[in-house]
């Protein structure tokens, strides 16, 4: 499968190089209906130090059942963007269209999984998942439906547990089930696995991929972890900071479906290098002189004088 389109021997592959299969898949993907469209979106906060432009002229489209990751340096406005998509924050300009209709305020058509644990502590796992079904007053059997979603995230045994009895990874799985139970058009996730340890994080990623493969859901996923973004995404939206603008939209050349084996493929490494250079430009770091002002803080005659 790993046939490089460029045939320049000795040169590392570029992230732009796609195999025919990958390229054909992107062609098909772009023919799917657009679920989410963001047009000229801007956001300015009024802070005590004057207005802060968090986002400026953001434009992108997300197609049905696409997995889009948003990545960027800290403070570039990732959370602000996803909160505007969810309707929890008002944009200062531009528009967000869901299935062509402008969104206004939060609604059950856009599910959200937060970085912090936001399960209702007074409800059991089952009742948490039933929450959306009950408030949106949908017909059917909320309990049966909830149990199906809990089963999907592999927590059937814990349906009657309270959130404080679950681990962090389990809590996020319930949060995913709770968001999916509403059958939203799009699932918004703001660094959902950021607080988990590396192993749990990896398991959660595979789990999410598995869910995404099996149900009709479009995902916008925020992360600051390059590996996570490349591993999960069809396309990656790279933001830059001050003001938050779209720097590049990258089509990930790693073939789908993914597995942890892909982490070491040349495409993966090339993509990672490229995004790294976008987010942490080497020359810039040097110009700004970003080094720590370090003083020697051990005595000259310290027992361990030199650690090397």
């Amino acid at each position: 499968m790993n046939v490089n389109v460029t045939d320049s021997p000795g040169q590392a592959p570029s992230y732009l190089d796609q195999t025919e299969a990958v390229s054909a898949r992107f062609d098909r993907l772009k023919k799917r209906p657009v679920v989410l469209e963001v047009k000229g979106l801007g956001k300015t906060f009024d802070s005590s130090q004057g207005p802060v432009t968090a986002l400026k002229d953001i434009n992108f489209k997300v197609h049905q059942r696409e997995f889009v990751c948003v990545i960027g340096p800290s403070g570039c406005g990732k959370s602000t963007l996803i909160r505007i998509l969810a309707g929890l924050e008002q944009a200062s300009g531009g528009a967000v269209l869901l299935d062509g209709k402008p969104v206004d305020g939060p609604g059950p058509d856009r599910g959200m999984v937060f970085q912090g644990y936001t399960l209702f502590p007074w409800l059991t796992v089952k009742k948490n998942v039933m929450f959306g079904l009950q408030v949106s007053g949908r017909s059917g059997l909320p309990e049966q439906e909830a149990l199906q979603w809990i089963d999907l995230v592999g927590l059937s045994k814990f349906a009657n547990h309270y959130p404080h009895q679950l681990s962090g990874g389990m809590k996020q799985r319930v949060a995913i089930a709770r968001a999916l139970a509403n059958q939203p058009r799009i699932l918004l996730m703001d660094e959902p696995f950021g607080a988990l340890d590396a192993q749990t994080q990896a398991r959660m990623q595979s789990h999410l991929m598995e869910i995404w493969k099996n149900i009709d859901i479009t995902i916008v996923f925020i992360t600051h972890d390059l590996d996570e973004a490349i591993y999960l995404a069809d396309r990656i939206l790279v933001l830059k900071a001050h003001p938050g603008e779209v720097q590049e939209i990258i089509e990930v050349p790693v073939p789908q479906p993914r597995s942890p084996d892909h982490l070491e493929t040349p495409e993966f490494i090339a993509t990672k290098k490229h995004i790294e250079s976008l987010i942490h430009p080497k020359s810039l770091d040097e110009e700004e002189g970003e080094h720590l002002n370090m003083m020697r803080m051990v005595h000259v005659d310290d027992a361990v004088g030199d650690i090397f």
Binding site: A86, P108, M112, G116, W122, V135, S136
Partner: protein, 320 residues
Amino acid sequence: MAHSSWFAVRQALAPRRRFVLSLMSFGLPLLIWCLVSYVPGIWHPMIKITDPGSASYFSDGMLLNKDLFYKEQIRLEKEGKAPPQGIPANPVYLPTPGAVATAFYTAFTTPPQRRDEKWLYQSLGDSISVIFLGFLISSLIAIPLGILAGTFDLFSRLTEPFVEFFRYLPAPAFGALAVAILGINEAPKIAIIVIGTFFQQVLVVANTTRKIDASLLEAAMTLGANRLHLLFRVVIPGMLPDLFRDVRVLLGWAWTYLIVAEMIGASSGITWFITQQARYKNFDNVYAAIMMIGFIGITTDLLLAWLSRRIFPWQRGIKA
């Protein structure tokens, strides 16, 4: 864990240790009281006369200052008359634990001195009903108002400035007014409890309501919750355990207003009993009555705490 420190920062001790310490929290004050009361060498600044001798103005059982007693004793000895005899004693305002325990019992078994007076248990019943009704009326209005003020800025702005002002007005100041309007029986007393509790309660409940995590509200909104859902399915269930705790604290405050409440109009109730007994210098009765209030207080508090654990099982792991 078995050998963990007694002074570990923010860590619960072993259950056994906690139990022993809880016992000691009652046991130590009682021990000190017993020592001061029963060990003659400790304190005992007075002399209780056992035999007046020829001192004309001493009588049996009288309590005297030590100085005065010894001066009189030396004077009479010099004059060759019979000196008075006495034993060291504590002032009348510090009865022994035994005396208080006896008073505790006899207070319930002794009929009132006059026919129109009430038995102690009746006074106690009156007090409890005043507190209960006052606190109930206050809560029925203050809790919903506090929740609304904590949820909607509209209600907060509309009520809180005035409530802030009013809560500085001392409830006792409204005593005469309450009697003029409501007569002399139970009603003005209940009114004082309500005035004393209500305004604090609105503010405390409003602040507790505001403590609800904003991200829970946001999560609910992304699940399709409307405003009523937010109020009834997120704010209220989320705050209930804290509300329960507030009620426990505020109930304690209500008892402090009881003293004032029972002084106005037709005096009655347990605090009236205390005032009267203090006037007769029956301090054992005074202490017994104070302790009755204490017992009622701690019993309701433990009951509410137990109830809270029963109805909010999800709180067990959260522990503030």
